[in-house]
Symmetry: D2
Subunit: 263 residues, 4 copies
């Protein structure tokens, strides 16, 4: 059994990333699927910060299904998001694909993401945990809740207690949505563990129109936050264009869930 990840009684864990406290209230992480250039990141960072987001996401190393798709800017992407992150004092969340990317990430980002495709890359999870940075661990598309928690245990066993879990859809049979968003599973996960549980409706559904209602639903249900793909011009996004929302829609979404900052 996952002894460290398992909830005993009512305890819950709050994971701090800079000033953000994941596990208290509803935390919103926003930003583009892929880091593309400085203007894009600067525009997104200003916009999402103004709308109430407290963490900035952006992919530098992209695990793309096809080797012919844009693979991300790599190390240069990390440097790009780091500069913007420091300028605006909003911590960055960036995915690691392999252990050799960890040193650069450890110096430049606030939180390391382990993506759905890497959820059972236990070597990577343990190494990421050893950096001491908080870990955002995404559920794989075929992972049971027990498997998610065992994966988290690999991080916790390294002595790093700061793990946040993220539901981003399991494999479904109807291509009306890219994956099947398992809200009930995310709620059940919170019953099983003391770790915070957030959602990623962008990857879960792949449909721009469903993001806001699903974030509202997740907040109403009592989950701990959401990671949302935001792009200044979604139609020009180099990755996952159909699921990103623009800054206006993001601001409206934040108002809908009562997280828009006071004027």
């Amino acid at each position: 059994m996952y002894e460290l990840a398992r909830r005993k009684g009512d305890e819950t864990t709050v994971v701090e990333v800079g000033d953000a406290r994941i596990g208290e209230g509803f935390t919103v992480i926003a930003g583009p699927c892929a880091i593309e250039d400085e203007l894009q990141m600067e525009t997104v960072a200003r916009g999402v910060l103004a709308a109430g987001a407290v963490l900035l996401r952006g992919g530098a190393y992209k695990p793309r299904t096809s080797p012919y798709s844009f693979q991300g800017l790599g190390d240069r992407g990390v440097e790009l998001i780091a500069a913007v992150s420091r300028r605006h004092a909003i911590p960055a969340v960036v995915e690691a694909l392999s252990t050799d990317q960890l040193p650069l990430l450890a110096q430049n980002v606030g939180m390391i993401q382990i993506g759905a495709r890497s959820m059972q890359n236990f070597v990577l999870i343990a190494a990421a945990a050893r950096t001491g940075l908080p870990i955002l661990l995404k559920r794989g598309p075929a992972a049971t809740l027990d498997e998610v928690l065992y994966a988290a245990e690999y991080a916790l066993l390294e002595g790093n207690p700061n793990v946040v879990l993220c539901e981003r859809g399991v494999r479904g049979f109807d291509d009306q949505t890219r994956n099947l968003f398992d809200l009930a599973g995310a709620l059940r996960l919170k019953e099983l563990t003391h770790l915070p549980v957030i959602v990623d409706p962008s990857h879960a559904t792949g449909r721009r129109s469903l993001i806001a209602p699903l974030v509202a639903a997740s907040a109403a249900a009592g989950l701990d936050g959401a990671m949302i793909e935001v792009h200044p011009e979604p139609a020009r996004s180099r990755s996952d264009a159909e699921q990103a929302i623009d800054l206006n829609d993001f601001a409206q979404l934040m108002a809908r869930i009562g997280l828009a900052p006071p004027l």
Copy 2:
């Protein structure tokens, strides 16, 4: 293509069942999985009505996986729920399993349910539609949204426009929840059709503790209502005991979503 079920523009359909108007605001249908006796039904009807429910559910003919499970009270169950329904002026929603049950239902209930196991029983759907009563059509556990809408089309083609669709979970791979509640699918369904779409988190999850948060989530996301299993003493329920909530929990749930009637 499902021409009658398909949404064209912004139109939405409101389905009236007695005074209830499904498709306006958030409508709550509540009651036990199975009708057991008069005391049970009387207690439930009073309780859910006082808490703000506008329709009363109860199963008379139960499609049980095992022939050795309680199969429902049959015709006597219909008479029981009809008496309670009339006494309290709350329309009843009862499932039909075969066409020969339709005449008795047509005289006694406000809405006929077509269960998940019957979602592609097109003979039954068409016959139920011909009674003129509103139809509650539940999504089958392996049905795509297109298949749900084609099934609805079988009812609409009979000239009965009053069809409500209900998400009740699709088959998932993790037995932490009985089925996989497809909230994003329900939201996408509303984009595809003008018919109202409600949810049944009781059957979708099979877990009492998840009902209230999922109803709150569905309301926040903008769906049209929920069907909730309520039993005076869930532990003594003759069917699906682990997923029913009691009257106190139901009243709290209704308050949580702002539907408790004023004192």
Copy 3:
């Protein structure tokens, strides 16, 4: 527990349909998805009989996902297949969708099929069993093996021991095949029950090119038979054209599995 369907020790049941003995050797049922006209049925019957099939399938009442698709010839289809069946002394297997179709079927066919969409239509299963005819019960696309066996139990409890189970694919996530053919599930099913278990690779895969290898696989694995869609001119089939094979391919398939009759 399904007491009647459950295997105890090594016993196996042989279901007789005319001269065919399902449960001994490998039995092949062949014919078109839908009965279209007399010439079609006559051509198919001659062809599949010459190639070694012992039962003739053909749909008269078609449970089509869309109400706008061809719904079958109905009663006239039953009469058509019955005439051909008698002329060539090959029993017919026809699906029933509702109880009022059973009397005509009982007089004209050798075996009543309960389709995947009706696998939990327990009213229909019990009524079909009461005709005394052997029942071919297809697994639903989201049904567990336990659920299949409980459904069979509804038939066995009527005193009709002649039930054959059929794997025809479960809902999968990759549209490369129409459904996900669960060969291992079919083999496991045989361990759980004494009833014969056959396969329907035509509906399971929806791909003509996969039928022959899957039938060969099922025979090599020790299953009890296969139901195969055969049409004189698959391209002109009014239903499921892409999954039917023609008479030449059928003859080659029968030779491949060693079932072609001696010249």
Copy 4:
């Protein structure tokens, strides 16, 4: 599109591993889930070789769902299987979990396995391909066939043409089998690619009794081989005990598919 993996016309690729030629006839890879000690490996190697296997599998680095399960012998396991492999001139197939394991593997084994959990670890796949050794790439439990082929493309793009694909079950909904063995998917995969496709019924089903019939089925269907878990004493296996077969059963299986060597 996966240009390198895609089949054009009738071409097929034969992958050579020592004297074994995968893609010609039916190739059997056998051995324990985990390398445990020298006696175990020596016994298995002798036994499977005598029964007709041409490649020896054994896990040194085990990607275990739980961090509390046996994680394999690591580098010492590689040395153990290498010694046995050289003594009996049977090439070893060993899984790599991370890039830093590749140099040792490259010097000691005949083929590097990329496991199901690593199917989208593109960094690892490319690095493994650059060793020049043949690659055995297992399908992930939620992977479509396109995704498998794109993953293979990552290896082929490194200039290594020797990639073998392996079906080992996708996530299903019925725990009667550990996963859902997708035989039709494996056959369809062969239509899409020129690469050899083999099966792993041990991991696909997790049931000893189903291994032999599924291997027989796969051979009859025309696939290119099977990887089979064999252990001298399955009950004492330190990993996946319920799915390994013993040497006697393995010899019978090889006789059943006509691959037992002449006496």
